[in-house]
C-alpha cells in the first residue's frame, strides 16, 4: 500500500493476537498425524503380507479397481512395470504404483488416508501394510512373501525412484 504506518501512537502496532492453543501432538487426529514421509517417518507400528492384503483387497477394493488392481471404474492401481525407455513410448504412459510412484511409503500413506474411497479411515494399520504388500507383490516390485512393516516399507526399491527431476525453485532437501 502507498500509505504505511507513519507515526503510530504507542497503542497502535501491527501484531498478532497470539490465540493459538498449545496441544499435545499425541492427540492429533489421524488425518493430520498420519503423514508418512519417504524415509519412513510417520509410519505406525504394524505389518502385513501380500497374502493378507489379497483378502482385504478382494473385500474392499476389487469393486472399484478390478481384479489384481488391473483396473475397474476407478482405474488401475497395479500394472505391468515396463523399462522406462519402453514405457515412455506409449501415448499416455501409465502412472500405476509399480511403474511410476517413486516411494512405497506413498502407497501406504494414500491408501490409509483416502481408501476405500467410500469409507476412508476404516482400515487398520495392519490392513494397510498388507494392501501395500499385495499391490507391490502383484507388480513384482517385492517378493510375494515379503512382509511390509515400518522397517521394510521405506526400503523398498521402487522402479521409478530415480525417475524425477525436481523444479529447482523448491528446496532440494528431503529425498
Amino acid at each position: 500500500s502507498q500509505n504505511k504506518v507513519q507515526a503510530p501512537s504507542p497503542a497502535l502496532v501491527l501484531q498478532s493476537p497470539a490465540l493459538g492453543q498449545p496441544m499435545n501432538v499425541a492427540q492429533l487426529p489421524a488425518w493430520t498425524a498420519y503423514t508418512v514421509f519417504a524415509d519412513g517417518t510417520g509410519l505406525p507400528q504394524g505389518h502385513g503380507t501380500a497374502a493378507q492384503g489379497a483378502q482385504v483387497y478382494g473385500n474392499q477394493c476389487v469393486q472399484c479397481h478390478g481384479a489384481a488392481g488391473k483396473g475397474g471404474v476407478a482405474g488401475a492401481v497395479a500394472g505391468p512395470v515396463l523399462p522406462r525407455a519402453e514405457w515412455i513410448k506409449s501415448t499416455r504412459p501409465a502412472h500405476t504404483t509399480g511403474q511410476y510412484w517413486p516411494y512405497a511409503t506413498t502407497v501406504f500413506d494414500y491408501i490409509r488416508r483416502a481408501m476405500p474411497a467410500n469409507a476412508p479411515g476404516t482400515l487398520s494399520n495392519n490392513e494397510v501394510y498388507a494392501l501395500t504388500a499385495y499391490l507391490l507383490a502383484e507388480q513384482g516390485v517385492i517378493q510375494s512373501d515379503q512382509e511390509m512393516n515400518p522397517q521394510t516399507l521405506p526400503a523398498v526399491n521402487m522402479p521409478n525412484r530415480d525417475g524425477f527431476v525436481r523444479n529447482p525453485q523448491v528446496p532440494a532437501a528431503g529425498h
Partner: protein, 398 residues
C-alpha cells in the same frame, strides 16, 4: 541415497497415535457439485436486513448490506444493498428496450442483446445511497449495527457500455445539457444527470462482479454514475432523454434535496463525500478480553482515490495511519486495517479518511455546524464506537 538407508532415522509412531479419530465429515464422500454455488448453511445469518416502509405497498424500503459481517472491498452480489421504491420489476430482457430520445439528431432504440455487443469497460466502483448514514443526523447516537446504519453502500466490479458511445451514435444536439434517465420499475423512476458527467464516465452496467447484474440491482441494465449519489444510478434503465433542462422530477425536488440552515434547500447534489467507518469492532460486538485486536473498516470518496485513513482509539485526540489494502482505486471501497492492543479500559474508536484531492472526513460537530439540524442526505462524519470495560461496543457522539 536409498530410501531404505534412511528408514532407521524415521520416527515410527505407536499404533495408538494413528487410530482414527477423524471428524464425521471425513468418513465418506462429501456433497456433490452444484451448478451455481451458495454460501455455507452455517453462514445463513449473513444476510441483508430488510427495512420496509409499510406505505400501502409491500416493497418500498431498503435492504441493508451487513457491512460488519463482511471483509475486503468487494460486496458479494447477493448482499449488495437495495433501495427500492416499488419493488423489483420482473423484466423480460428480450422485450426490454433502451430508448435514447429528446435533443438528439437520431432517436435510437437498443435491445439488450445489441448492447451486449458494444465495447465495454470494467471498473470497481462503490454505489452509496445519498441517504446512507442518515441516522447520524439524529440528536442522540442511534444504537444499531454498522450495516443497519451505514449499509446503503456496496462495491462491485461493474462492467458496461460507456454511455458516451451511445449518445455519439444518436448525435447530441448542441442545446442538450441534461440527460433524464428513466427506470422500468412500476413507478418509472426518473432522475436528471448533467450531460457532461454522462459523457465523462457514466456506463450502462450489464455485469456486476463478472456475471449479469441481479434483478434487484437493475437487471437487465442500470445506469452507473461513478462517485455520485446512488439514486442517480437508475436501475432497470429504459430511457435516456436529452434535454436543455432537468426533469425536476419528484425525486430531485421533493426528495434528495437538503434543507440548509438558511431555510433554502440545496438541489442537484452529486458527489458522495470522503467517508470511512470502522466495521470491526463496531456496535453490538463484544471484545473477548484485553489483548491485540484487529481494527478494520472501509473508506471511500466520490472524488477519487482514498489517500489515507487514520485511526484513533482515544476519541480523536491522537491519530495513527492505518494500512490500506491493495492500491486504492478511484470511487471504490478501500479496506483499511490496523492492530490495537486493548488494555481493558474505556476507549473511543474512530477512523478518518482523506482522499487524493485532499478532502478530509469531518467530525460530526463540524458537519452539523455547517449543514444544520435538518439534514438527511450526504452524512459523512467520523463515526465513534465506544468500547467499555466489559468489551461491549456501542455508538457514541464525542
Amino acid at each position: 541415497l536409498q530410501a531404505g538407508v534412511a528408514a532407521s532415522a524415521g520416527k515410527v509412531l505407536p499404533a495408538s497415535a494413528t487410530e482414527t479419530n477423524n471428524p464425521k465429515w471425513m468418513n465418506g464422500p462429501g456433497q456433490p457439485f452444484a451448478a451455481y454455488g451458495q454460501p455455507a448453511p452455517q453462514e445463513s445469518h449473513v444476510i441483508r436486513r430488510v427495512g420496509l416502509n409499510y406505505r400501502g405497498i409491500d416493497d418500498n424500503g431498503a435492504a441493508w448490506c451487513p457491512l460488519e459481517q463482511l471483509q475486503g472491498s468487494i460486496t458479494p452480489n447477493g448482499l449488495h444493498f437495495v433501495r427500492n421504491h416499488v419493488g423489483t420489476p420482473a423484466i423480460q430482457p428480450e422485450q426490454h428496450r433502451l430508448y435514447i430520445h429528446g435533443e438528439v439528431q437520431r432517436p435510437l432504440q437498443f435491445s439488450v442483446s445489441n448492447l451486449l455487443r458494444y465495447p465495454q469497460v470494467s471498473r470497481q466502483l462503490f454505489i452509496e445511497c445519498g441517504g446512507n448514514s442518515s441516522a447520524g443526523w439524529s440528536e442522540y447516537p442511534v444504537q444499531r449495527t454498522a450495516g443497519l446504519t451505514h449499509g446503503l453502500v456496496s462495491a462491485s466490479e461493474w462492467t458496461g457500455v460507456p454511455v458516451r458511445l451511445l449518445l455519439e451514435e444518436a448525435g447530441v444536439q448542441a442545446s442538450a445539457q441534461w440527460v433524464v434517465a428513466t427506470g422500468n420499475d412500476s413507478g418509472a423512476f426518473d432522475m436528471s444527470i448533467p450531460l457532461e458527467k454522462i459523457m465523462d464516465d457514466c456506463i450502462i452496467a450489464l455485469y456486476q462482479n463478472g456475471e449479469r447484474l441481479r434483478p434487484e440491482n437493475g437487471y437487465p441494465m442500470r445506469l452507473l454514475v461513478p462517485g455520485w449519489k446512488g439514486v442517480l444510478s437508475v436501475k432497470w434503465l429504459g430511457g435516456l432523454q436529452l434535454s436543455s433542462q432537468p426533469a425536476m422530477s419528484r425525486n430531485e425536488t421533493a426528495h434528495y434535496t437538503e434543507i440548509l440552515p438558511n431555510g433554502l434547500s440545496r438541489q442537484f447534489t452529486t458527489t458522495m463525500a470522503v467517508k470511512s467507518l470502522i466495521t470491526s469492532p463496531s456496535h453490538g460486538m463484544t471484545l473477548a478480553g484485553p489483548g491485540v485486536k484487529e481494527i478494520t473498516g472501509l473508506a471511500w470518496s466520490g472524488h477519487g482515490k482514498i489517500a489515507r485513513v487514520e485511526v484513533s482509539t482515544d476519541g480523536g485526540q491522537s491519530w495513527a495511519d492505518a494500512e490500506l489494502c491493495e492500491p486504492p482505486r478511484p470511487m471504490a471501497l478501500t479496506r483499511f486495517r490496523t492492530s490495537w492492543k486493548w488494555d481493558g479500559e474505556d476507549h473511543i474508536l474512530q477512523s478518518r479518511a482523506t482522499d487524493e484531492r485532499g478532502h478530509v472526513q469531518p467530525t460530526r460537530q463540524a458537519l452539523v455546524a455547517e449543514r444544520g439540524d435538518k439534514g438527511f442526505y450526504h452524512y459523512n462524519a467520523i463515526v465513534s464506537w465506544e468500547v467499555n470495560s466489559f468489551g461491549l461496543v456501542s455508538h457514541v457522539y464525542v
